[in-house]
C-alpha cells in the first residue's frame, strides 16, 4: 500500500474521484493511477441536500461531476455506547451539527473526508466542511488539483521508482 497518499487529503476533481478504481478488499481500497488514495478534498457547489435524523446527505458539483457526500450526525448515539462519558461533554456532535447547518443549496463548500462506497457507488464520508466565501477558491482548487497531479499524484508509486 502506498502510505504517502493514503494519509493525506488528496485534492481532486469530481470526475477524477468518480473514476478511481475500487478494489473489493475488506475494507475496500481505491486506486488512482495505481496509487492508493483514501482521503480527498473537493470544492464545489451544493446541488442537493437531504437531512435525516442521524445524517445529512448532500451532493457536491464542481463542474466536472457530482459527488455524493454523507455527514454523520449520530455521534451522541455512538458516544453513549462507549466509556468516554456523557455526550454533552464531547463537542464532536455539536460541531457536526453546526457544520450540517452550513451545508445549504447553492453554497460553495470545501469538503474533506474519506472515500467510501454505497451500493457500489463512490461517496465521501465527510470529516469537515468549510464554506468558501471567495469564489476564487474554486479556481484555486482546480489549479491545485492540476499541479499536485503533475508533481505528485500522477507519479508512479515509490515501488515502481525503484525505491527512490
Amino acid at each position: 500500500m502506498d502510505h504517502l497518499l493514503h494519509l493525506v487529503h488528496v485534492k481532486i476533481l469530481a470526475a477524477d474521484l468518480l473514476s478511481v478504481t475500487i478494489q473489493h478488499t475488506s475494507p475496500p481500497a481505491f486506486l488512482r493511477c495505481g496509487r492508493t488514495v483514501a482521503r480527498v478534498e473537493l470544492v464545489g457547489i451544493v446541488v442537493s441536500r437531504d437531512r435525516r435524523e442521524k445524517f445529512l446527505s448532500f451532493v457536491i458539483d464542481d463542474g466536472t461531476g457530482c459527488v455524493p457526500c454523507i455527514l454523520w450526525l449520530n455521534h451522541q448515539y455512538l458516544n453513549a455506547s462507549t466509556s468516554s462519558g456523557p455526550s454533552e461533554f464531547d463537542p464532536t456532535a455539536e460541531m457536526a451539527l453546526k457544520m450540517s447547518e452550513e451545508v445549504r443549496l447553492g453554497t460553495l463548500l470545501r469538503v474533506r473526508g474519506k472515500i467510501a462506497t454505497y451500493r457500489g457507488a463512490i461517496q465521501i464520508t465527510v470529516r469537515d466542511v468549510v464554506v468558501e466565501k471567495d469564489p476564487n477558491s474554486e479556481v484555486l482548487h482546480w489549479l491545485q488539483c492540476v499541479r499536485l497531479a503533475k508533481e505528485c499524484y500522477d507519479l508512479p508509486p515509490p515501488s515502481a521508482q525503484g525505491g527512490t
Binding site: V8, D90, T92, E94, M95, D128, D134, L140, R147, C152
Partner: protein, 562 residues
C-alpha cells in the same frame, strides 16, 4: 556563500532604510567558545553577559573539535582592555565536548535596522545575552527560542575582529584571494596580511555592492579579540584548532550557478549533470543554491491580506532572471523592502534559494491544512495587559498540504492563529452560562482565547496530548491535564477538545517554516509516536491566510511555465 556563516535570507540587505515595517532575517551560526574574563570592574560585569560561540565544521573537523580550547587572549574595546581566556564549550556547556553545528535565525525587528544596517555576511559578532549569566550557552540561553534570536533596538550586537599582537588577522583559507591572504603562522613570527576589498570571489563589473569591504569591516569592528604571539606559541595546537574552526566559516563559497545550470539540474538530460547534487535533495526541495542571472522582470503585489502578524507585510514575489540561454523564475514571499536594488537589467546573485524540481523558491515553505493537533501546552500569560489572553508555550501540528504530512511546531502568536483562538467559541449556552457571571448573559459570545483565559486563571498551565495516530483522531484520543493540583472539569475538558477539533476542521492557511531539530522540543518532554518521529519536523515562523486570487495567479504562472 558558505552555508555555515552569517548570511541573509532576505536579499539584498539594505544600506539605507526608510520607514520599515516588519522584520528582516539573517542566518547565523553560533560559535562554541566562551570568553572568560579575569579582573573586576563595571565593564566586566557587562562582559560576563557576552557569549561568543562558534559552530563546528562538518566532516573531517569533528575529531579536532573534541579537543578542549583554553587560550589566553584579550578583548579590547576602545581604551578598555579585558584579559581573559577563550574556552571551548559544547552544547551541554561542558568543555571539550564534541561540538555540533548550531544554526540560528537572527530577526532584526523594525526599529533596529538603522542600528544594525551593516551586518556583514561572513562577519563575526558578539550578542549580549538578555538572560545574562556567565555560563550561559547556546542550549540554555533564554534569548534563543526555537532557534531564533530577536534583536530590537535595545539589544546589543557588536562586530569583532581577531588580531595577533594588535594586527588584524584575516580569517580565510589560503588561496581564497577574494577575501585575502592568510599567511601561515609559525615559530612565533608575526603575520602580515593583505586585505582585499572585494566580497565575492567572482568579480563582476558594475556590481552593486551593498556591503562594506572587509578592510573597513575589521577597521570599524567594535571589539578586537587579540592573541599574543607568546600565548599562541605555547598553545599552538589549540590556536590552530580555533583558526581551523573560524576558517571554516570562510570556506570558499558554494558555487554560484548560472541560470542554465539551474535548469540543467531541474531537468537533467544527462544523469551525470545531477550527479553533483543529490536527487533526493532536489525532489524534497532541500537543496539551497546560489544563482546568478540578469533580472528581466519582477512582480511585487501589494498584500491585501488581513495581517496575521502585525507590522509584517508579506508580498508574493516573482522575479524573472535569465542568462543567454535560459530563464527561470524565483518565487516566494518576501518583505516588500527586500527588493530595493533589484529591477530589470540588474545582474543579481541570489543566495540560499531553494532549488526544487520545477522552480526556484525564496527560502520558505508552505503547508496548508492543520490535519491534527499533537501537543498543546498552554500557560497563563505573565503580563497583565489585555492581550494576549493566553500564552501558547508550544503547539505541535500535523500539517497536510495535499502531497504529504509533516509535523509543524509553533508558539505564541503563530500557534494562536493556527488554533484559531481569535474566533468566537461556538459552544452551547450552558458553556457560556458557566463562563459568565450572574448567569444572565447566555447571549454573550466569547472568543476561544477568552474562554481559555478564564480557565487558565484557575489552572495556570494546561497540556493537551493527542494519543491518536494521524491523520485520523477523535476526542477520545485527547488527553488533557493541568499542572496544578486541580482536576479539569468536564466543561474545561470540552473546551480543550473543541479547540483541537476547531483547528482541524477549518480552512487552509499558509505557513512559512524552517527546519527544526527535534532536540529543540525535547525540553517539553514530548513523546511522539513512531509514525510522527519519522515525519519531517518544521518550526512555523509565519502564519497568514490564503488569498485565493493571488494563489491562483501564482499557480497559473507556475503551470504555464512548467
Amino acid at each position: 556563500m558558505p552555508q555555515n556563516s552569517v548570511c541573509l535570507f532576505d536579499f539584498p540587505f539594505q544600506i539605507q532604510c526608510q520607514s520599515m515595517s516588519g522584520s528582516l532575517y539573517a542566518e547565523a551560526v553560533i560559535l562554541p567558545y566562551v570568553l572568560k574574563f579575569i579582573g573586576h570592574g563595571e565593564f566586566l560585569e557587562d562582559a560576563e553577559g557576552f557569549i561568543m560561540s562558534h559552530s563546528t565544521l562538518v566532516g573531517n573537523s569533528g575529531a579536532s573539535m573534541a579537543k578542549s580550547c583554553n587560550i589566553p587572549c584579550s578583548l579590547s574595546f576602545g581604551s578598555t582592555n579585558l584579559c581573559g581566556t577563550l574556552v571551548s564549550t559544547g552544547s551541554s556547556g561542558s568543555e571539550g565536548t564534541v561540538l555540533k553545528e548550531t544554526r540560528i535565525l537572527l530577526e532584526f525587528k523594525a526599529g533596529s535596522f538603522m542600528k544594525y544596517q551593516l551586518p556583514r555576511i561572513n562577519g563575526s559578532y558578539i550578542l549580549q545575552c538578555s538572560s545574562g549569566g556567565f555560563t550561559c550557552t547556546m542550549g540554555s540561553c533564554g534569548c534563543v527560542r526555537g532557534g531564533k534570536v530577536s534583536i530590537d533596538s535595545q539589544d546589543r550586537l557588536w562586530s569583532f575582529a581577531i588580531t595577533i599582537d594588535g594586527n588584524v588577522n584575516i580569517k580565510g583559507s589560503t588561496g581564497d584571494q577574494s577575501i585575502g591572504e592568510l599567511h601561515s603562522f609559525g615559530d612565533g613570527g608575526s603575520t602580515s596580511v593583505k586585505m582585499d576589498g572585494l566580497f565575492s570571489r567572482n568579480v563582476i563589473h558594475d556590481e552593486l555592492r551593498l556591503v562594506q569591504p572587509w578592510n573597513d569591516f575589521y577597521r570599524n569592528s567594535y571589539f578586537h579579540l587579540d592573541f599574543s604571539c607568546e600565548a599562541i606559541s605555547k598553545k599552538m595546537e589549540e590556536y590552530n584548532t580555533v583558526c581551523h574552526v573560524l576558517n571554516g566559516l570562510c570556506a570558499p563559497s558554494s558555487e554560484v550557478l548560472s541560470v542554465s545550470s539551474c535548469v540543467d539540474i531541474m531537468m537533467p538530460k544527462d544523469a551525470s549533470v545531477s550527479a553533483n547534487f543529490k536527487t533526493k535533495e532536489v525532489v524534497h526541495g532541500d537543496l539551497l543554491v546560489s544563482v546568478q542571472g540578469k533580472v528581466e522582470n519582477i512582480h511585487s503585489l501589494v498584500c491585501k491580506w488581513e495581517r496575521c502578524v502585525p507590522g509584517n507585510e508579506k508580498y508574493s514575489l516573482c522575479i524573472h532572471i535569465a542568462d543567454n540561454n535560459h530563464a527561470v523564475y524565483i518565487r516566494g514571499y518576501s518583505n516588500k523592502h527586500s527588493t530595493v536594488g533589484i529591477g530589470p537589467g540588474a545582474t543579481v546573485t541570489f543566495h540560499r534559494v531553494r532549488l526544487k524540481q520545477h522552480g526556484l523558491l525564496l527560502t520558505s515553505e508552505t503547508y496548508i491544512e492543520v490535519a491534527t493537533v499533537l501537543v498543546l501546552v498552554l500557560n497563563k500569560p505573565t503580563n497583565h495587559g489585555e492581550t494576549p489572553n493566553v500564552r501558547v508555550q508550544l503547539a505541535g501540528f500535523i500539517l497536510d498540504d495535499g502531497s504529504s504530512l509533516c509535523c509543524g511546531w509553533a508558539d505564541d502568536a503563530r500557534a494562536e492563529l493556527l488554533l484559531r483562538l481569535q474566533e468566537i467559541a461556538h459552544l452551547d449556552a450552558s458553556f457560556n452560562l458557566k463562563l459568565s457571571k450572574g448567569g444572565n448573559s447566555t447571549n454573550l459570545q466569547y472568543t476561544i482565547g477568552c474562554c481559555l483565559e478564564k480557565m487558565l486563571k484557575k489552572h495556570t498551565s494546561v497540556t493537551v496530548k493527542n494519543c491518536g495516530i494521524p491523520p485520523d483522531f477523535s476526542c477520545r484520543d485527547l488527553d488533557a491535564s493541568s499542572v496544578s493540583d486541580k482536576v479539569l472539569n468536564r466543561l474545561e475538558d470540552k473546551l480543550l477538545k473543541f479547540i483541537v477539533l476547531n483547528a482541524c476542521w477549518k480552512g487552509s492557511l499558509n505557513v512559512i517554516t524552517s527546519a527544526l531539530d527535534p532536540d529543540d522540543i525535547n525540553g517539553f518532554n514530548v513523546e511522539l509516536p513512531v509514525p510522527i518521529q519519522n515525519m519531517r519536523m518544521l518550526w512555523i515562523e509565519e502564519v497568514f491566510p490564503v488569498d485565493p486570487l493571488e494563489e491562483a495567479r501564482r499557480l497559473c504562472d507556475i503551470l504555464e511555465n512548467s
